[in-house]
């Protein structure tokens, strides 16, 4: 499925004087990270705002996670996370208050919102600052909390608009690490992947399932079997043993870690803005 499709989006400001989007087309596969690069004023923020239902385009259409942005904006809002160009938080409230409030607004129940707030604070190393008002936070802490707020309901599509502007180099690095980790977390970490001869696929699949405890996904075309694992190397050894016992010799076997390509980080670490778009299966990026 496509997580974002945009078709001929046009958006003008000031009664047509500024043409921010002039027939934008996007086609983003699920489970991919898309970076939008461009100089200031090229329409990146406008694109994000249209896709996040904040702005109505003059013409064109778009779907996010398969839902029509113009026809069903309410449905779109349920499956997206948005972290805008500037941290949008209640400065007077604490980090904990903010996450708890947004959790409630995402319709988690009282204990669910609290639990999620604590998880996210922990994950983004903000537990110590949790009870301090946001106005005492550093720029990097604000951005991390802002990102945390956009991840409350594990969105299907996550929009990040300039997640690192205004941060010093260290803050940027930290922020990218957090984003990278988050993408891995979304898919539950490592996957075991093996490639075997076509006639061995059924049996190998059974063995992988036996070890990993989850139904592997099988690509018959490239004869690849893959399944998520939590204890990577132990599972790998175990699968190898079983395969050996069954006289199956894999053409290729290994653990795949989902990660933002170094190239991607190198690129985006130096440009103004990116839209990072994660899906349920970021790990399958090839």
């Amino acid at each position: 499925m496509n997580s974002i499709i945009a078709h001929e989006l046009v958006k003008t400001y000031d009664k047509g004087a500024v043409r921010a989007l002039d027939g934008l087309n996007l086609d983003v596969k699920e489970g991919t990270v898309l970076g939008l690069l461009g100089p200031n004023g090229s329409g990146k923020t406008t694109t994000v705002r249209v896709l996040a239902t904040l702005l109505t385009p003059d013409s064109g259409s778009a779907t996010v996670a398969g839902i029509d942005v113009l026809k069903h904006p309410d449905e779109v809002r349920k499956v997206i996370g948005l972290s805008g160009q500037y941290a949008a938080l209640d400065e007077t409230l604490t980090g904990w208050d903010n996450l708890n409030m947004f959790g409630r607004l995402y319709h988690l129940n009282s204990s669910g919102a609290k639990k999620r707030a604590e998880e996210l604070l922990e994950k983004f190393s903000l537990t110590e600052a949790a009870k301090r008002p946001i106005r005492t936070y550093s720029g990097g802490m604000r951005r991390r909390l802002d990102l945390a707020a956009s991840l409350i309901v594990k969105p299907k599509v996550l929009f990040l608009d300039e997640p690192t502007t205004g941060l010093d180099p260290r803050g940027r690095m930290e922020m990218w690490e957090v984003i990278d980790d988050e993408l891995k977390n979304q898919v539950g970490g490592e996957r075991l992947e093996i490639t075997v001869e076509a006639n061995q696929i059924p049996e190998a699949t059974k063995l992988v399932e036996q070890v990993t405890g989850t139904k592997p996904s099988v690509d018959n075309g490239i004869r690849k079997i893959s399944a998520p694992v939590s204890n990577g190397s132990a599972s790998l050894i175990q699968v190898l043993r079983l395969l050996d016992d069954a006289k199956i010799h894999p053409l290729d076997i290994g653990l795949k870690r989902p990660s933002l390509d170094d190239v991607f980080i190198a690129l985006t670490g130096h440009v103004a803005e990116v839209v990072v778009e994660g899906g349920a299966n970021v790990a399958k990026r090839k």
């Binding site: 996040a52 805008g84 938080l89 007077t92 409230l93 409030m101 409630r104 607004l105």
Partner: protein, 264 residues
């Protein structure tokens, strides 16, 4: 529907939390009207020969109460403009909540703040000689009237806050309009002494009808408008109710529409 209710309650709760996290805001919001009570009571109170039983303070208190709740408009406008400026409104708009939750939550939150302010002012007033003489039921009714008026004014504030988008601009705009409105009324001095055209305006001014209504509910003769024979002067309670209904009926839908389309 139930979901909608809980959405706006979350927003209201946020405002109450703000009061707890920064108590100074509420303290100043309360000290200011309390100071007004004291200043007017002791600076003008001596000079104005009111001629009502219990002295000028009986006429003054309803005036200051109404002035204070009229400024709910300011609180709402400034609060929402600040949220706009910080991008919070955008974030709220990206959440799966009902389109009216944020603005309803805000108006309700500002009304709750008014309760605290009115209690403090009532107590200060009592200390300096204010003695409502109409009995507990009517006094309570008077305060409910004040809260309702504050709530309806708050809806104008929503539209202003979302339109100007900047805290400072909202602040200036609101003070420039609400202050004259509260002084061009019977709140502190008789309307009968004003030039004809101002007098006409003052008598139809919702602040005047509210002040007259409150004086009636608190059991004080409204001598600041007693000789005026315009319809609103003669029927202040009814006229005030009509104003409140009109304000909400006009500004609530416009403001919600504005919220849906507003964009930083």
């Amino acid at each position: 529907m139930l979901q909608n209710v809980s959405d706006f309650l979350v927003i209201t709760k946020r405002q109450l939390l703000q009061m707890i996290r920064i108590p100074e805001v509420l303290i100043f919001a309360t000290i200011q009207p309390a100071m007004f009570v004291l200043l007017f009571r002791f600076v003008f109170g001596g000079a104005i020969d009111s001629g009502v039983k219990g002295g000028y303070v009986q006429l003054l208190m309803p005036g200051i109460f109404v002035q204070t709740v009229a400024f709910t408009l300011a609180a709402t406008a400034v609060g929402l403009a600040a949220d706009m400026q910080k991008g919070l409104i955008d974030r709220f708009r990206s959440l799966p909540i009902s389109r009216s939750a944020v603005v309803i939550g805000r108006t309700v939150g500002d009304t709750l703040q008014n309760i605290v302010t009115l209690i403090v002012m009532g107590l200060v007033g009592f200390l300096v000689g204010w003695r409502p003489s109409s009995g507990p039921v009517k006094v309570l009714l008077g305060f409910l009237f004040l809260l309702a008026f504050g709530y309806s004014m708050s809806w104008i504030g929503v539209l202003i806050g979302l339109s100007v988008r900047e805290e400072r601009v909202a602040q200036n705009l609101v003070f420039m309009t609400v202050f004259p409105l509260t002084f061009l009324s019977n709140a502190f001095a008789p309307t009968t002494g004003m030039p004809k055209i101002l007098q006409y305006f003052a008598e139809w001014n919702p602040v005047s009808t509210m002040v007259a209504a409150c004086r009636q509910l608190f059991g004080t003769q409204n001598i600041f408008g007693a000789t005026a024979n315009s319809w609103p002067s003669q029927n202040p309670i009814l006229m005030s109710l009509i104003y409140m209904v009109l304000l909400v009926a006009i500004f609530a839908p416009i403001s919600v529409r504005k919220y849906v389309r507003v964009s930083k």
